[in-house]
Each structure stands twice: as structure tokens, then as C-alpha cells.
Symmetry: C2
Subunit: 206 residues, 2 copies
Amino acid sequence: MPKVIDERRRRERIAEAVWAIVARDGLEGATVRAVAAECGLSAGAVQHSFRSQAELQRFAMELVVERAAARIDATGRRAAPDAATGSGASALKAVEAVLSELLPLDAERLAEARVWAAFSAAALADPALAPLSRRMIAVVEGLCARCLAQLRADGALGPAAGDALAAPALRALVDGLTVGLLADPSPAARRQARAVLHAHLESLRP
Amino acid sequence: MPKVIDERRRRERIAEAVWAIVARDGLEGATVRAVAAECGLSAGAVQHSFRSQAELQRFAMELVVERAAARIDATGRRAAPDAATGSGASALKAVEAVLSELLPLDAERLAEARVWAAFSAAALADPALAPLSRRMIAVVEGLCARCLAQLRADGALGPAAGDALAAPALRALVDGLTVGLLADPSPAARRQARAVLHAHLESLRP
DNA sequence: CCTTTTATAATACGTTTGTATTTTATACAC
DNA sequence: GTGTATAAAATACAAACGTATTATAAAAGG
């Protein structure tokens, strides 16, 4: 054995190279050779870690979901203790901050959203990727539900806003704002997206 | 000249073949040969109508926007006379019906949405397609704005719902619901999407 | 009727793709 | 220390791609 290398780390490094290329050139730019060059390996090394390109793409998309789910879980937990103390107004601000982190409002999250959009589009034609699309949506909706539960606990939610449709609606709003920001990530559009999210949360108040 | 053929019609027929393939196999399935086979032509004939594949894809995406804009314009105009007569409740129902036509609730519009998602993803990596993405969003938001104006004229809009953010918010909601239905087009998900749209419009009432 | 023009078809070509195969070099076992 | 197993690199190869080129056939003009 030439080097005793952590195979898991290696696979993740390659997946991250896939992300970088996809964010820049789209999924069709992520050829085996391009991915290998992106992380300073030979094509043979990539082939050693992934039997086929399809397996590589599936792993890269799985890792996106996994990382995003972990991050969302962390921010969701972070918001909860924050707001339990004060009035409804501060809870609303905390929830707004948490949900803002789902939107592509900075360069890093814009890249993430571009990668995710590319994979989601690929999932429409590849049944092996479709469950990952659904899982990501479920994760986002879960965060929305937790945010709404937080608001409800703080009395920042009106009576009509508490039904089972509030979380799917909030998820749709966030995803729709993301779609808009992908097409137009200008500062003006970012301001508007933030304002729309703010207004929606305000409209839920009692 | 072998046949005196309407060049515009021919280009549209080829573009429609692109849509059929993209809806089924994604954009990377729309090779010149596959497109030619889809509409019963030879690859040479396709090349005669489109200098390059990039030009073909751009035309196909332009035609999607053009057709969608025309359809949206027509349905928007159709809704207006409907609701001006009755109370706010009937206006709300009419608007709900109009906006429902934007959602992929049947097979035809699901195919349309799949095509649009594929092109939108391609636009992220191809600056020549990006303006078409933005235009489509503007068209949808325009319909949302007209629907809201209709509701306002019929007194079916609360005071806080009338600001400039209502149309962008409604557009985001519709696009977000579309994203969800693309990942999960099951009857249950369709029911929920309709319910979310209904609840959102209800929440705008005075 | 013959020439010309042009849409279509067929073929050819160079490139790039994913992947299989071979070669090389290195770290561990005995 | 030597042999062996394996990661990594290099190379090879068939398939598919976009596109250029050539050939064919059919309608219009004189």
C-alpha cells in the first residue's frame, strides 16, 4: 500500500470538488477528468474511490443533503433557547434569522443553492436521485415546522396560522424565494427576498 | 427546392421535440440525433434549421417562455371579467383557479414544469439563457400582481396585504409549491399544494 | 426539357466521454 | 530484506457527441 489514506475523507474531498465544478459550470461540467483535476488527483485515483460516475454523483448529492441537514438541525436547535426568554417580537426575529440562513443571500450559500438546483434537476430524470430531492424538502419543511412551533410557544402566532398547512406554506415560500434569487442574486433582489420573508412572518402574528 | 416548408413551423416542431425529450430524459438527453429521431427527421435536417445545438436549446427555451407568457396573459385576462360581478368570495375562487393553472397539477403541466426546471438549471451555467429565467419569473409575478389587483378591486384584500411585497410573495409561494410538486407529484402532495394556495389567499382577506 | 437551387439525407471526422487495463511505486507482513 | 498487496498514475479503447462535408432528390425558372 503506497499511502494509508482515510477512504471516507478522500471520497468527501472528491465530492467537494464536484460541488465546486457544478456551482461554476453545471453538472455536465463535472466529468471524471475535471473532478480529478479540481482536487489535484489523477482520473485513476477518482476511479479507485468510485466505481462509476453515477456512484460519484449520487454520493456527492447525498453529502449535500447530509451536510445541509446537519447544519439545519444545528441552527434549528440554536434558535430555540434564544427566543424562549423574551416577548413574541424577539422570537420572531430569531426565527427570521434562522430561516434567512436557508436563502442564498451570500456567495457561499448562493453556490450551495446552485449545486442543489443542478442536482434537483438531475433527479427529475434519474430515479436514483429522486429520494434525495424529497428528503431535502422534508428537512427544510421540518425546520419550518420547528420555527413555527417556537413562535407558537412564544405567543407570536395568530389562531388561523397554527394549522398543519403553515409549515408547507413556509417551506414553499422559502424555496420560491431561493428560485428567484438563483435567477437574480442582485442586492435589490436579496433585499426584497428578506422583506418578503419578514412580511410573511409578521402576517402570522395574532 | 424539394419542399416549400414553413421554416418557422419547422423550428417550432423541432423545439417541441426537444421539450418531449427533456421532460423524459433531461436536457443531456436532447442530443441532435435524439431530437431528430423524436420528430422523424434526420440529423442533417435539424442542422439545416439550427446552426448549432446551443442555438437550438436557446430557441427551445425562448419558445417555452413565449408560449407560457401567452397562456398566462390569456388566463389572466379571462379571470378579470369573471369576478368583477359578484362578492369577494367569487373573486377569490376565480383567482385561485387562475393561479392553480401555474402549478403542475396534471400530467401536461407537470411535463411543462419539468422542462422549465431543466432549462432553469442550465441557465445557471449559461449566461445566454439567464435572461429567459428572469423573464419567466417576471411573467409569473405579473400574473400574481394582476390577481391581487383583482382581489383588491373586489374588496377581498385586507389592508396589510396590499403592499408591494404581496405579488413577489405570491410568486415565491407558487414557485415553491411547483418545486415541491416536481419532487413529489403524488395526489396527496397535489391536494396539499392546492390547500396551501387556498389558505394563503384566504389569509389575505380583510 | 434542362438547369439551377435548396431541403434533406448520408457519411465522415475529430473530440470528449466513461471505463477497462496496465504499469509503477510504496508501505506493511513475514 | 524480500515479497506482496494495493493505492495511484498512465494508457488504451469503444461509444457517443457536435459538426463539417458530401451526395441525393425534388421543385422552380428559363
